[in-house]
Symmetry: C2
Subunit: 398 residues, 2 copies
């Protein structure tokens, strides 16, 4: 079966490499006529590259070639990826992507297009890199009602936080180390500000709860404001600060969905996820808690997830896989201000004032404490009333 790759960057070149390296393995075990790479679409040229001869610059070559049944999109960004993917699906080609931004913003529409044209649109690699997450969730989903999904979804920020927790590093210092090691980009905004994690929790929530969640409906806060003092206080309390993406189904049918630094108790399976590793926790009504763990990024891990999707497309070329969800509806995502949690608060106010405003709290030190359960709006208001807080961080129950 013939395959084309659009975008010959880190992941795209990894896909080409894995297809080549494991050709015999795939032919023997999964796709009897093998998977043959026919084109690589890129605006650049790659003199001396082993796949140089496959590189083309005109998208229409792929679109018009009826032999190409499966197209891989590893360009990134929404444009022109969206247009290209859409056209491929309309032309009866299955599409596999690792592009989280595309799935988070256009997933519903592209799944509908795939359905209309009786082809597959798969995106396992868009969450958790090489860790099988979306497909096992579909499986869990089949026999469970999923109540909650949450995780450490971004390796860069987890690496930075690990440095802060284990070595007492300051944020800027840890970020610099991450950049030196190639874990963080020169412009680290998408990772550090939580945008990458936001796209991933959108995809997870859409799949788990069967309704699209768009990034702009998800409260998103990154890790830039976390201080060494916070890290120390939380350690003293018996936990760690992680950047968490979380979504939970409420009894009234709405969901919560947010990305934010949050406190995980030591002993929780998420607390021990360190360095660049990712982990996704799923809570089902029958299965209980299940965690998927591994490297959330990297050329070969991500490529291996893309290739697994290609194989799945090849095996479901006649009978497409059932995958899809409803479009978003208004008021579906609860405003972050209304979400309920216990909170860690660090303040310069005096104890008498704190006690008056907050009532019963659990003190960690003279100026840091954990509140009772309340909404985010309430904790912000109380913090203001008691003279202002330096930090407010939610405490999770996993």
């Amino acid at each position: 079966m013939k395959v084309a790759i659009m975008g010959y960057g880190v992941v795209g070149s990894g896909v080409a490499a894995v297809l080549k390296q494991n050709f015999a393995h795939i032919k023997k075990n999964s796709v009897s006529d093998g998977l043959e790479l026919k084109y690589i679409l890129d605006l650049r040229t790659f003199p001396g590259d082993e796949f140089e001869s496959l590189v083309i610059n005109d998208f229409n070559t792929i679109l018009e070639d009826e032999e190409v049944k499966i197209v891989v999109e590893t360009m990134g960004g929404v444009n022109p990826a969206y247009k290209f993917v859409s056209s491929c699906l309309e032309a009866g080609k299955s599409v596999v992507t690792s592009n989280k931004e595309l799935v988070a913003t256009k997933g519903f529409e592209l799944l509908e297009t795939a359905k209309r044209n009786n082809v597959n649109f798969l995106f396992e690699a868009s969450v958790g890199g090489g860790i099988p997450v979306l497909r096992p969730i579909s499986q869990c989903l089949a026999s469970n009602e999923i109540k909650e999904v949450a995780g450490i979804l971004n390796g860069t920020t987890n690496f930075i936080l690990t440095k802060m927790i284990e070595e007492g590093a300051a944020f800027e210092e840890a970020l610099k180390t991450a950049q030196q090691l190639g874990y963080a980009e020169k412009d680290p905004t998408a990772d550090v500000e939580g945008l990458d994690a936001c796209r991933k929790i959108c995809i997870l929530a859409s799949l788990c709860f069967n309704k699209h969640v768009y990034p702009d409906s998800v409260y998103t806060k990154g890790i830039r404001g976390i201080t060494e003092e916070d890290v120390e206080n939380v350690k003293k309390w018996g936990g760690v600060i992680k950047l968490i993406g979380s979504s939970k189904k409420l009894d009234d049918g709405r969901i919560t969905a947010w990305v934010s630094p949050a406190i995980i108790k030591n002993g929780s399976q998420l607390a021990s996820v360190s360095d660049v590793f990712n982990a996704v926790l799923v809570r089902g009504n029958a299965v209980g808690d299940v965690v998927f763990y591994g490297r959330g990024a990297g050329k070969l891990p991500t490529a291996s997830a893309v290739v697994a999707d290609i194989i799945d497309c090849a095996q479901h070329i006649k009978e497409r896989k059932a995958l899809g969800w409803e479009d978003a509806s208004e008021g579906y995502v609860v405003p972050f201000e209304e979400t309920v949690s216990r909170f860690y608060v660090c303040t310069d106010s005096d104890k008498a004032k704190v006690d008056t405003v907050f009532g019963v709290v659990e003190y960690i030190s003279a100026n840091a404490f954990i509140t009772e359960e309340m909404t985010y709006a309430q904790v912000c208001k109380k913090a203001e009333l008691s003279g202002g807080a330096k930090s407010i961080i939610r405490v999770t129950d996993y």
Copy 2:
């Protein structure tokens, strides 16, 4: 679609409950005509049970009913489960089982029978209870060559070891607690001696390396001999003792496969798996390390995995899923004596003798140390030469 359950014990009754509880959910999302339970085969009767009217005693009723397309086997044991499952497959019915003993001893044969009759034989629930493990491995497998699979495969022994590690309990004391809590059976042999873990590593190794591994070819040692002294020594060294099932592909095409107490370094993702939780680690050539974690047993978790398999059968009723492997061959599994590792040794011999026989070792205390890499045969011989060892435990590299 009509389903029958054979064996109305813990898991079987869980399957009936999950099918009923999630009927609408399954009908909406997965199997459009729904999954309807038609018979429950058991030798007993269940007066007052909500499914009482479905209980039958004659296997032939199921076998001869052409409406029943999917049969669930939750009887346990090899006989008569093997005969019943075989007959169902021959009669063109797909079979789902949670019975690890059946799969470990008859898996190759039953998969062949399923293939010949163009039906499915699925057994996700036989490893890791409700945690999706086998299906994600198939997916990893599709685009990776798997190099190694290992895990904490038995919740009972992990609970006992956790009590020993965290509370300094003696083995017998921890076992008693496990029995009181219902985590260990009155006769705990299958768990404590490693037989249950052995069946699971057989299934995992068969799937990962595409060749059946029978329990009698797998070295199996349980946790009965582990002392408080060992636990303390290993803690001092910076690790924990876990009951590990492991299988690794060697460059010469053979595999290692064993179940044994083994030492895991703190910080490893397996080290923090405590209580009754299970975790399976898979090493692929592209994806790196991936870990699946959750409750490895329990009525509803296990039932939810069975029901996910039933759904998969229903969705692949016309086109069966490709699943199968070769039969075992002689000399495929490396004898345990020849497997190589570093070892923890606890002895009463004096240091001079140890140094003479073992050469360079890493001392933990006056009478406990970690050796260099050597075969199990070598460490046993050296231990004997130096005056005998109280304990020998292998050190893993994950």
